[in-house]
């Protein structure tokens, strides 16, 4: 597994990709600072809804992950190097798991730092709040990574489809249709923030922590298994 993991780290550590991730991950921090410094500073509720819920968990995290996860398998399919791995005498899960781990390894530090700084600034050094936001961001990264790695395997249009998913599903439907929340990674992250620090998102309705944890496990495991299954059954270009 180590060879696939190291290979994927090198493949995904391109300068432009890291630059895009840096810019994206910086946005919540910058906007949080600007918002808090403005004369009409937002309420906690407004901050959590707009910055933590919509921006960090619903937009920035999936975008950062999409930038690399779709390429983890997608680029190998496109440039036909995936055959180097699938023609090796290793089970398919030993390809899918290290690919996913490499994506998380690269994306998680960016999002963890972004989430920590954003909440540290907004909650004025509240450690518990910052940890709750950071942990939920990392969990969100892992879940989005599992989904987008699979997407890169099943479609050559993974970036486009991923953007549609982020905008329509996570951004639009999950915000207005309550039943969709049970199928929204963004809302698992929000529920986790609340579960780790009950002062956070202490308003409105959100998923229970138990449902969020169960669904997170199912989503992560489901997409990972789907990737393994896809690797076993697809025609490798």
């Amino acid at each position: 597994m180590g060879s696939v993991y190291r290979l994927t780290l090198r493949q995904l550590s391109g300068r432009w990709r890291l630059l895009i991730m840096t810019v994206l991950a910086s946005l919540p921090v910058i906007i949080a600072v600007l918002m808090l410094r403005s004369p009409d500073a937002p309420s906690v509720r407004e901050f959590e809804t707009a910055i933590l819920g919509a921006m960090l968990a619903g937009s920035i995290a999936p975008l950062v992950v999409l930038a690399i996860a779709a390429a983890a398998m997608g680029n190998e399919v496109e440039d036909r190097t995936l055959a180097n791995l699938t023609l090796a005498p290793i089970p398919r899960w030993q390809i899918a798991v290290p690919k996913l781990l490499a994506v998380v390894t690269i994306a998680a530090p960016f999002m963890a730092l972004s989430a920590f700084l954003t909440s540290w600034v907004a909650y004025i050094g509240d450690v518990q709040a910052s940890i709750a936001v950071t942990v939920s961001a990392v969990v969100g990264v892992a879940l989005y990574a599992a989904a987008f790695v699979w997407l890169g395997l099943v479609s050559t249009q993974a970036i486009g489809l991923g953007l549609l998913y982020i905008v329509l599903w996570e951004g639009f439907f999950s915000g207005f249709v309550s039943g969709v929340r049970a199928l929204s990674i963004r809302h698992y992250a929000i529920a986790l923030m609340h579960g780790l620090d009950e002062r956070r998102f202490a308003f409105g309705s959100h998923l229970s922590l138990t449902v969020a944890i169960i669904m997170s496990v199912l989503v992560f495991g489901g997409f990972l298994l789907s990737s393994v299954r896809r690797l076993r059954r697809m025609d490798i270009p």
Binding site: S3, V4, L7, R10, T81, N84, L87, A88, I90, D235
Partner: protein, 330 residues
Amino acid sequence: MTLQQIPRLPLASLGVARDDNANGAAAPVIRVDGVSRWFGSVVAVSDVTFEIGPGITGLLGPNGAGKTTLLRMMTGLAATSRGSVTVFGEPVRDNPPLYRRIGVMSEHETVYGFMKGREFVEMMGRLRGVADLERAVDRAIDLVDLADAQHRPMDTYSRGMRQRMRLAGTLVHDPELLILDEPLNGADPRQRVHFKRLLLELAAEGRTIVLSSHILEEVEQLADTVLLIVNGKLAASGGFRAIRAALNQRPYHVRVICDAPRKLAAEVVRLPSVDAVNVDPDGAIVVLSRNVQDLQIELPRLAQSAQISLRRVEPLDDSLESVFGYLVEQ
């Protein structure tokens, strides 16, 4: 460097055993049984059946004939729509352990440009569970004669060098079966010579090598057995001569040089094995025959009885190129 100069990893060290059936006769290494593959309404491969044993087998056909699709099914990279492919007696599809015994080089330049050549071969060896990795990598790189360039990134290589380093990655685990799709693409003449010699040496060690090519001369020079694929079907198989025999309905052009061409032409045209005769401006006779076996017997007899001295009798189209062209026309 040749194989004789390089210490080989014994196949037994990789846990590899030869497949023999109960009678002690070698079982086919690859068995393709009634295989078809279609993409929507397009049939790429249609009901192809053959077996491949040790030695070099050439898969020959024009572009789009279905060679690559067939090779991909033989390697397990692609599924069959119908039929089965077994390698060493096992289904090749979704059977990763089998790849310990198989080396595959696709026609595409499947390299990672950011990697140094040696890193690539090391990675391929590591993925294939090679025990003595350093030694295996040294050997594989020496085989393809790229020791001097092994520490350079592969995106600085020429196409031919990338092909050779890919071959090193294919050979690093010392596979019994090599499946190579258009392996000579991009190689310069010197590299081609080296490559051909290497393949012949690998085959002489008892390996099974399947290679596809549309360069007929190369297949003719390398392959013991030829599989001709035309329009997704197996048009002919066997040794080159066997294919020719199977195509006995095909007209042959035979050039005859003698001391009395017009006289011989007048006699030869009466032979039942001859369809047509032309006398070239240079005085040579070109005989068109659909039964070259009979012509081989009748022509000397005729010349002797007519007291004509034959100086040279040579086939004009005794090459895969002409056989191939004929098959494609059919």
